[in-house]
């Protein structure tokens, strides 16, 4: 198990160094955990293999053959490690959030046994369950990538705002009575947030801008409702201003937290990277 040793031609060492640099940069394909723990060892192994190929087989052909073996292996094992990690983490998250959702849904179920004020049918439970589970799972998956508390807080505030927005606009109606089509404008607000977050790849700088844009979209909905007198007489202007102002402040607060998270970001990063 001796390492290849002895005096080596300078050309060989240059080729080894170049290959080593290339291999080191390709290691980014692996999950961070494996890279941090074994990346140095993997590079050392690969360097030994490079030297061995150059010395035993005498030249660039051996090195080329090594690369031809290594690249597919690297791609395959990186995908395997990533999918294993994802499956493991996602399974735990899904189970945790599902249990929390079930516990929360027990509350209205119990309330229905005690009082006639709470009347939920199956569709209500399904809707509430899907909303709580979806919001919870999104938070867990996004927060897991977070490198600091500010990022987690920002994600929590923005998701709580989105949850309330869906709940209120579809459940009771923010503008006008229950079922007023004006409430569909809030779908646009949520779309700004969701599409923006995907484009920003959940990185804190980008997320700050996305949340400011979402707040602007929310304010625009309020302005449209006020200008065109939507929701009257059930929703007076003060109510529209108050409710929408509440959501605008949540989105702006979340944007400021994301901005703070971006400043605080350590090299470990809050972005969704390996």
């Amino acid at each position: 198990m001796a390492s290849p040793r002895g005096p080596r031609p300078r050309g060989h060492e240059r080729a080894v160094a170049t290959s080593e640099r290339a291999y080191r940069s390709l290691l980014r394909a692996y999950p961070r955990g494996l890279r941090d723990e074994y990346g140095g060892e993997m590079v050392r192994c690969f360097r030994d293999l490079c030297r061995e190929e150059l010395e035993d087989d005498g030249g660039g052909l051996g090195l080329a053959a090594l690369w031809a073996r290594t690249l597919p292996e690297l791609l395959y094992t990186a995908l395997k490690e990533r999918s294993t990690m994802l499956a493991r983490n996602t399974y735990r998250s899904v189970v945790g959030v599902a249990l929390a959702t079930a516990f929360i849904l027990l509350l209205p179920l119990l309330a229905m046994q005690i009082t006639d004020e709470v009347v939920w049918d199956l569709a209500d439970f399904v809707f509430a369950g899907a909303l709580i589970f979806g919001t919870g799972l999104t938070y867990v998956l996004v927060a897991r990538k977070a490198g600091n508390i500010a990022y987690r807080a920002a994600a929590g505030v923005s998701l709580a705002a989105a949850f309330l927005l869906v709940w209120l606009s579809l459940g009771v109606g923010i503008i006008g009575a229950d079922g007023d089509p004006a409430n569909l404008m809030y779908v646009g607000v949520l779309a700004v947030g969701i599409i923006g977050a995907i484009i920003a790849r959940f990185r804190p700088h980008g997320m700050a801008r996305v949340l400011f844009a979402t707040a602007l979209a929310q304010a625009s909905v309020a302005a449209i409702a006020l200008v065109f007198g939507l929701g009257l007489p059930w929703s007076p202007p003060v109510e529209i201003l108050g409710l929408n102002g509440f959501f605008v402040s949540l989105f702006v607060g979340s944007a400021l937290l994301f901005r703070y998270a971006a400043r605080e970001q350590t090299p470990a990063g809050a972005g969704p990277e390996g």
């Binding site: 198990m1 001796a2 060892e41 050392r44 192994c45 292996e73 094992t77 990186a78 490690e81 493991r88």
Partner: protein, 134 residues
């Protein structure tokens, strides 16, 4: 194992980890007679299999990670070959744990049982095709 089933907590019994993947079995066999670093494991496997099995760094360290998590192998502080390359101090050596020895023995026993069953059925060495069936 080696293929990745040491995900949730450590297994209690060697049988929980069987069957081993070919990679995991090769790594354990490489460590059966002494401690080795990653490159040493690669060389041992390649030599023992006559070059038919060549572990790449990604395959090897993925397996090492899972075997370590499962308590089958551990890092060793020993440096069995003091005359190694100058960077050898930074190399990490691995060894079989007591549990790892039990896992390897259980897997070898399992494979031995398979081979014996194959022999009983005349499948080892491969049966010659009958003249009628040819």
């Amino acid at each position: 194992m080696g293929g990745g089933d040491a995900s949730g907590g450590r297994p209690n019994r060697p049988d929980d980890l069987l069957p081993l993947t070919p990679v995991a079995l090769n790594v354990l066999l490489a460590l059966a007679d002494g401690e080795r670093h990653g490159y040493g494991i690669m060389l041992e496997v390649r030599e023992r299999t006559g070059g038919r099995v060549r572990l790449g760094p990604g395959t090897l360290y993925g397996a090492i990670k899972r075997l370590k998590e499962g308590g089958v192998i551990a890092e060793s502080r020993e440096r069995p070959d003091p005359g190694e390359a100058p960077d050898d101090e930074r190399r990490r050596y691995y060894r079989l744990t007591g549990f790892g020895g039990e896992v390897l023995a259980a897997e070898v026993e399992r494979l031995d049982g398979l081979v014996r069953a194959a022999r009983r059925k005349g499948a080892f060495p491969a049966p010659k095709p009958s003249p009628e069936g040819a």
